[in-house]
Amino acid sequence: MKKSHIFALVAIAAAIGIIIGNTGDASTYVSFDQAYQMASTGNETQIHVVGDLKKDANGNIVGIEKSADKLSFSFILVDENQKEQKVYYNEPMPPDFTRSEKVVVIGSYQNNSFLASKILLKCPSKYQEEKINTSSL
């Protein structure tokens, strides 16, 4: 066997290794029920859940609780299957949090609570702006 063939074989093996390594560690988008099942079977990987903040009949966001020192907060997230879940986050509440349309929480269940290690906010950015400020007319 020529050395270049050995080189090619090693390269292919490395490529397969990288793919397996990558996807093996990958997280997935799941619902809260799936996340709970994963945690109860001892699977502690971090998963993504996409949802909306819980709102009352008037469209006001409900269920946000800040800690006394403002350094952490919790909120209620409603996932795609309409399941409500209290989510804890160990960071101060981002000022634009309540303006976000969708929230992606990344974390895992601990007992019956979901602990987020990171949250991504989908804010209505200026690009989606449909209203023009006419006040300065």
């Binding site: 390269a11 490395a14 350094l71 303006r99 991504l120």
Partner: protein, 839 residues
């Protein structure tokens, strides 16, 4: 309404599109015509391409005029600019939008095309066919034309009117409505790096086309190996510029964003990083080819791969497919189909062309020796490609998910929350391998090495590396195995290249480019290892509090709640928050919000007293000065053993049109480490504070009393005749009390007013001391006992929540970056000279 400029701009876009097609066709005819008509075709092609360049410049000028003249009837000006935007940032507006950034890309490529026309006699026609076609595809992205009958919208024009872009009821009432002001530039982009980073990056993008065009031309003209010589210097230039652009982006992120670093493995970053790695690999295979005629096929594959990856990254960041995965991709302009065609056209065409000619491409039968320099360089190039491969897969998860859904698979793959760890866990080993391969390759490069003298050659560099390594770890206390190995590999890379540099520069300085660039890489690896691996949160709050009764885990908290003028001790620092500041435009320094009066124009404020900054007077009392009202700076003092180490002014920008709140850090730079602080949460000034119930005290003149635990004294009560410029009537009686309150650092004065109008109506104007959280009202005057009733309300004192991080040796990274760029320049100059000598 200024219709003309927009119509003119749109005309130029269409002209640039048409001329690029004509140029492509004419250059095609230059190649495929009988000899006597070739030169006329070439002339036509050149005229077409020059017209194309002129048209592109025309588009640029029109768009710039619209932005600069504040023609807010145009969507581009309205949504990216505003009247108060400083001049230099108007340039940033230009490329904030997708259309403008496409335009920048087109502009660079048109310029490079002109350079190639005049420098590549032999290659001009085939290379320019590829160039012109790419220009046509790019121009089509901003065409903004609806194809009749098919009803397909081609491209998104930057000259679209606001009323056509946004469906607002005002336009049905008033079709000619023009907003008075634009919605402004994203505050994150109001930074000098955003003036120079995008042009650099897009110049890098544009330069990746050059080796690709030469490679395609080479395959097409059956000049399978000749293309490498002209392509190599351009590849070096491209890799240098692209690398510089990427690092500028990293530096901008470090200064402006608040994730606490310069690299976040965000899909948008990865999408440029991967082509850059492959481009570096392609430089190495081309150099191998130039030396011993092997690795030609690898060079062809890599030259094509770089450009295809650039197209892929364009597709990823601009098609909207990243969606949830990235925080800062462009918005979807509905161009995804067009972008996909662009990507597929060049991918399929290039692969098909290469496959067609594959059999004829000469390949060396020579077996590569392990003791040859080619082996080590090729190994390095392979590692770079794998490193890129490892990054591109997770970056493509959204694409893989989408493709899975075509086959009915519900994959839902996502990059884990700790993406930095997810990527760096493996990337660190690629870094180690690259360092070892390129450190060793340097020895093989300059001397014939075989089994016998290998030990001799390597002995001293390895020994020196080990000694330096031992010194570093004993000083820096590195224990993590991966970091130890990376440090050793980085030191080895630096030492071996220093040795080579020393030897080479004695012989011929112009050949030292390789050694210098690898030296830079070694420094960067060490800098990255320390600054990222050993950054520590200074504001660490390890009280181990339970976040909730339901959660058993104890958490360290990275953020710190600071009340004004109260010192906290954290990680060896005494941290104190001193209050909110504004920054006068064009003046070095900051002004306390307590020392300014607002005016009707939010951009103009008046100093209420002489303002000093660092013991230097920067403003006189009653001076009116300009500020940017979006910005508030939070003065935070860091002390060690009572000595002030740093005064930081992290910034918060409030811009409702942009989605609210944007925090940027302030960085205290030291040679050995940076101290990085940003605001996590400021007080909300819009919210009415919760005041305590009023307590009432009877005080005589000069009597001391306590408010909110501060010592206060009623200094005087005087009669006044006007209130805020309003002259009172003869019958009105108004008195003002002057109360001095001693804060921790300053003395403050509260001046409540008591007013009797028309002998019966009583009015009271309370006075508030913001910093201390105190409000004092003059409730009543008691002439019989000669004392006064004061009402005192208190609230929670002002606060801010911050995060502070210490980053060691980050300057080694920036130093390495500079060295790398010097290396690229030296190598590029040499290769351009080579090329000119032999033409």
């Amino acid at each position: 309404m200024h219709y003309f400029i927009g119509d003119l701009g749109h005309f130029f876009i269409i002209l640039s599109f048409v001329t690029s097609l004509i140029s492509a066709f004419a250059y095609w005819k230059t190649i495929n015509s009988p000899d006597e008509t070739r030169e006329p075709w070439r002339k036509n092609a050149r005229v077409a391409f020059y017209t194309h360049l002129a048209a592109v410049l025309g588009v640029v000028v029109c768009l710039f005029v619209i932005i600069y003249q504040h023609y807010f009837e145009y969507h581009y000006a309205y949504s990216h600019s505003s009247r108060h935007l400083p001049g230099q940032y108007m340039v940033s507006c230009f490329w904030e939008g997708q259309e403008g950034s496409f335009l920048l890309w087109i502009f660079w490529q048109a310029l490079i095309g002109i350079v190639l026309i005049h420098s590549q006699k032999k290659w001009e026609a085939p290379v320019m066919v590829v160039f012109s076609l790419v220009q046509a595809f790019l121009a089509s992205m901003i065409l903004g034309v609806v194809i009749p009958l098919l009803d397909i919208k081609l491209g998104s024009s930057p000259f679209i009117l606001l009323r056509d872009a946004i469906d607002d009821p005002i336009f049905s009432l008033q079709p000619d409505f023009i907003p008075k002001d634009g919605s402004g530039l994203n505050p994150l982009l109001q930074n000098y790096w955003m003036v120079i980073h995008p042009p650099t990056l897009f110049l890098g993008f544009a330069l990746t086309l050059v080796p690709f065009a030469f490679c395609i031309a080479g395959l097409w003209q059956k000049q399978y190996s000749e293309w490498i010589k002209p392509a190599l210097p351009w590849t070096l230039l491209g890799a240098g510029i692209l690398g510089l652009g990427i690092l500028m982006g990293g530096y901008w992120a470090y200064e402006t964003l608040n994730f606490g670093g310069y690299w976040n493995w965000d899909p948008v970053e990865n999408a440029v990083y991967v082509p850059w790695l492959v481009m570096i690999a392609s430089i190495h295979t081309m150099i191998i080819y130039k030396n011993n005629q092997t690795a030609l096929k690898s060079s062809i594959i890599l030259a094509i791969a770089v450009f295809v990856l650039i197209l892929y990254s364009t597709f990823l960041t601009r098609s909207g497919i990243l969606g949830d995965a990235s925080v800062h991709s462009f918005t979807d302009l509905g161009l995804s189909g067009q972008l996909l065609i662009y990507l597929l056209f060049f991918t399929v065409a290039a692969i098909a062309l290469a496959a067609w000619h594959w059999k004829h491409i000469p390949s060396s039968e020579k077996e590569t020796e392990v003791y040859s320099r080619e082996f080590w360089i090729f190994l390095g190039a392979t590692i770079l490609c794998f490193s890129g491969f490892h990054v591109i897969i997770p970056t493509s998860y959204p694409v893989i998910n989408e493709m899975g859904s075509w086959f009915g698979l519900d994959l839902r793959l996502a990059v884990p929350g700790n993406q930095v760890e997810y990527y760096s866990r493996y990337q660190i080993w690629f870094g180690v391998l690259v360092a070892l391969a390129s450190g060793t390759a340097q020895f093989f490069w300059w001397r014939k090495i075989d089994k016998h003298n290998l030990v001799k050659e390597l002995l001293y560099p390895v020994l020196i590396s080990l000694v330096v390594f031992a010194l570093i770890i004993s000083l820096a206390k590195i224990y993590k195995p991966a970091y130890l190995v990376l440090t050793l590999a980085g030191v080895y890379l630096i030492v071996s290249n220093l040795k080579v540099l020393f030897t080479v520069s004695k012989v011929k300085k112009s050949l030292s480019g390789g050694a210098i660039s690898h030296l830079g890489v070694g420094l960067m690896l060490i800098g990255i290892m320390f600054s990222a691996g050993y950054s520590s949160v200074v504001s660490l709050n390890n009280t181990g509090m339970l976040i909730s009764k339901d959660l058993p885990t104890e958490f360290n908290r990275d953020n710190l709640l600071l009340f004004i003028n109260e010192t906290r001790v954290m990680a060896g620092y005494e941290i104190e928050y001193l209050g909110e500041r504004v920054k006068p435009n064009g003046i070095r320094g900051y002004v306390s919000k307590n020392d300014i009066d607002l005016t009707f124009d939010p951009y103009q404020v008046i100093a209420t007293k002489d303002i000093y900054y660092n013991n230097k007077k920067i403003l006189n009392a009653r001076d009116t000065f300009e500020i940017n009202p979006e910005n508030t700076f939070y003065e935070v003092e860091l002390r060690k053993n009572g000595k002030v180490e740093a005064v930081l002014f992290p910034r918060v920008q409030i811009n409702p049109a942009m989605g609210g709140f944007v925090a940027s850090p302030d960085i205290e730079r030291h040679v050995g480490r940076d101290l990085y602080t940003h605001v996590s949460l400021p007080m909300n000034r819009e919210e009415e504070p919760e005041w305590s119930e009023m307590s009432e005290e009877r005080i005589r003149i000069n009597q001391e009393f306590f408010v909110n635990d501060y010592v206060a004294v009623l200094e005087e009560v005087v009669r006044i005749h006007e209130i805020d410029g309003y002259i009172l009537d003869e019958t009105d009686v108004a008195v003002k009390a002057k109360i001095k309150v001693k804060g921790e650092r300053d003395e403050y004065f509260a001046e409540p007013i008591f007013l009797i109008r028309e002998k019966s109506q009583v009015g009271r104007i309370a006075s508030e001391i913001n910093d201390l959280g105190v409000k004092i009202t003059l409730l009543n005057i008691h002439p019989d006992t000669n004392d006064f009733s004061l009402g005192i309300n208190t609230r929670q004192k002002d606060w801010v929540i911050i995060k502070a991080i210490e980053m060691p040796l980050i300057n080694v990274l920036w130093l390495g970056t500079g060295v790398l760029m010097v290396g690229f320049t030296v190598a590029m100059v040499r290769r351009f000279k080579d090329f000119r000598k032999e033409v």
